[in-house]
């Protein structure tokens, strides 16, 4: 409620006096837009101000940002998160694209299966999924102890590079990757391209890497950006399984150094937003009716 009540202060000053009839409806719309703008901008502006507001000296400086790279654990957490992001992107693309090409070209009848499985992760809350993941992992040192499968489960929880997170993140990324490629594949004449390339003697690898992928570049880029944003921001699963990634590190330091944790939040937000803006720009370019050269 506080946000709303502070929000109304400038509105009363700026909004034109309400007049009769349709004019009043327009006025209400603008009032709403201004309130919304205030509600959405204030937290961002205030967080930034919070990070540059040096309460010790009473002046503004970027000290909180300058401290980030040297703070304990940051570099490790960032490196781990970036590695996970890269592996997840590569894995998610490598898992999804072949399956979708098969569905498009050979086995259209299993499309509902692939589509359904790809979209289910949207429905299962991560906190619920991680309960199951933990149950599966606990088989490693117990029921499956000593077997190759048990060993694999145990080694997938390497603290430095937890492979189990890559597997779960690939699943969490499936909805985004599926949708991006679905849109991308619908936008091009897959069958014609493949038939033409095959007719000219290209083998399947050539078809995929030199004919299809260049045409799906935008879709792959969009899917990758969304996946990176997802992995860099994912807290639930990493925290429950006690792995140290950027978001869990952020929560850890917030107790003793609030200003720095907000600074990292602002920095990671800016980075994520650049990625997402990249996606929407790529989207727009795809939608303009112009053939790629």
């Amino acid at each position: 409620m506080a946000a709303v009540s502070t929000a109304t202060i400038p509105v009363g000053l700026d909004a034109p006096a309400a007049t009769a009839g349709p004019r009043r409806r327009v006025g209400f719309g603008w009032l709403l837009l201004v309130v919304a703008a205030v509600y959405f901008i204030i937290p961002l502006a205030a967080s930034f101000f919070y990070t540059v507001d040096n309460r010790a000296t009473g002046s503004l400086d970027l000290g909180a940002y300058a401290k980030i790279p040297t703070s304990a654990g940051f570099v490790d957490a960032l490196r781990r998160s970036l590695t996970l992001a890269v592996l997840t992107v590569v894995g998610a693309l490598a898992v999804t694209l072949p399956a979708m090409l098969v569905v498009t070209l050979r086995w259209p009848r299993i499309r509902p299966v692939i589509e359904g499985l790809s979209l289910i992760p949207l429905v299962i809350p991560p906190i619920a999924l991680v309960v199951g993941v933990r149950d599966v992992l606990s088989l490693g040192p117990n029921q499956l102890a000593g077997t190759p499968l048990g060993d694999a489960l145990v080694s997938s929880q390497d603290l430095d590079l937890p492979w189990v997170l890559v597997v779960v993140y690939i699943v969490l990324a499936l909805p985004f990757v599926y949708r991006a490629f679905d849109a991308g594949l619908r936008a091009i004449e897959v069958r014609t391209l493949v038939d033409a390339a095959r007719g000219l003697g290209a083998n399947w690898l050539t078809v995929v890497f030199r004919v299809l992928l260049p045409n799906l570049r935008t879709a792959a880029l969009g899917a990758s950006f969304l996946t990176i944003a997802l992995v860099l921001g994912e807290f639930t699963i990493a925290s429950i399984l006690s792995f140290d990634t950027l978001p869990t590190w952020l929560v850890e330091i917030s107790g003793e150094n609030a200003q720095e944790s907000v600074a990292v939040s602002v920095a990671s937000l800016l980075f994520t937003w650049l990625l997402l803006l990249g996606v929407s720009l790529a989207d727009r370019r795809r939608r303009t009716p112009r053939r790629a050269s």
């Binding site: 937290p43 309960v131 399947w204 978001p247």
Partner: protein, 304 residues
């Protein structure tokens, strides 16, 4: 038929074999990963919701205790708290989202429209830990706005106003920050689908404004708005990171309870309660999604 095959493919058996093996190999990784990361955990969770270690004999046994414990006491409070929070967020998010989208669509300004849609796309993804910290830095106990208001007006939001960010109300305000943009994204296409001709036709037939909304606009908009509200409900119900970073354990929420159980804060023999709570969540979200799907089927008829 066999003849035709042998004629077109001189490779004979090898060709037919690779023709089937290729696609099979290509879809295998997909099914392996979905199996490992989605199906197996879900099955494991459903199983352990009905298993427990007997506190006396220490033997593994089937039980309904987890499911029933998950619906009593603090767990019940948490489940109801989550449902209430998700409900409030869905209704408020839907109302404000529709109003905002309507204001943008009616303004007729392409720039404002593009700005809003891009910003919504970005803000709808703004969840998790950073969102919690942004609000703590803004209207938390030592937040910028909190201190500024106190300095300027001598009014403490937290002490005099009785407002706490680390409460049900606080969480609602924070969740709406990414739920309203999500609603805007969902509803703008639906509002675009309301053709001006319909309201003109209704007016020509003598309908008043409220009659137009009652019989034309409302019924067309209802499915997408309801669908959007259900999406918000699911989003608010499953949100964990923001709540954990912001309130820790002070607000009873099912997601926080699950985390609590998983970190070992339970009686012996009740470890399965976490799985039972998780199963309850999946069932709740599943039911909502079935309704959503039915609603979407209706929407598809009207839009486009």
């Amino acid at each position: 038929m066999t003849q035709a095959v042998t004629l077109t493919r001189p490779g004979g058996r090898a060709g037919g074999w690779t023709r089937r093996l290729g696609p099979a190999l290509a879809v295998t990784p997909f099914f392996v990963f979905v199996g490992l990361g989605l199906v197996l955990p879900t099955v494991a969770l459903a199983v352990s919701a009905f298993r427990r270690q007997n506190p006396d004999t220490l033997a593994d046994e089937s039980t309904m205790d987890n499911m029933s414990t998950a619906l009593t006491g603090g767990y019940r409070t948490a489940l109801l708290g989550s449902l209430r929070l998700a409900g409030v967020c869905a209704v408020l998010g839907a109302v404000f989202g529709v109003l905002l989208a309507a204001a943008v669509v009616r303004s007729g300004s392409p720039l404002l429209r593009r700005l809003t849609l891009t910003a919504s796309g970005v803000l709808a993804n703004f969840g998790g830990v950073p969102l919690a910290f942004a609000f703590i830095a803004t209207i938390g106990n030592a937040g910028e706005v909190t201190t500024l208001v106190e300095r300027w007006f001598g009014f403490s939001i937290t002490d005099d106003g009785g407002f706490s960010l680390y409460s049900f109300t606080g969480l609602t305000i924070v969740y709406l920050y990414f739920l309203i943009p999500l609603m805007v994204i969902v509803v703008v296409p639906a509002l675009d689908g309301l053709r001006p001709q319909w309201s003109e036709a209704a007016a020509n037939l003598g309908a008043r404004r409220w009659q137009y909304w009652r019989h034309v606009g409302g019924p067309v908009l209802a499915p997408p708005v309801l669908g959007g509200a259900l999406l918000l409900f699911c989003g608010a119900l499953s949100a964990f990171a923001t709540a954990q970073a912001m309130v820790g354990g002070t607000v009873p929420l099912v997601t926080l309870q699950i985390a609590n159980v998983l970190s070992g804060n339970v009686l012996i023999g009740q470890e399965g309660v976490g799985a039972a709570l998780a199963l309850d969540m999946i069932v709740a979200v599943g039911l909502v999604m079935v309704v959503y799907w039915l609603v979407q089927r209706r929407t598809a008829r009207w839009l486009r």
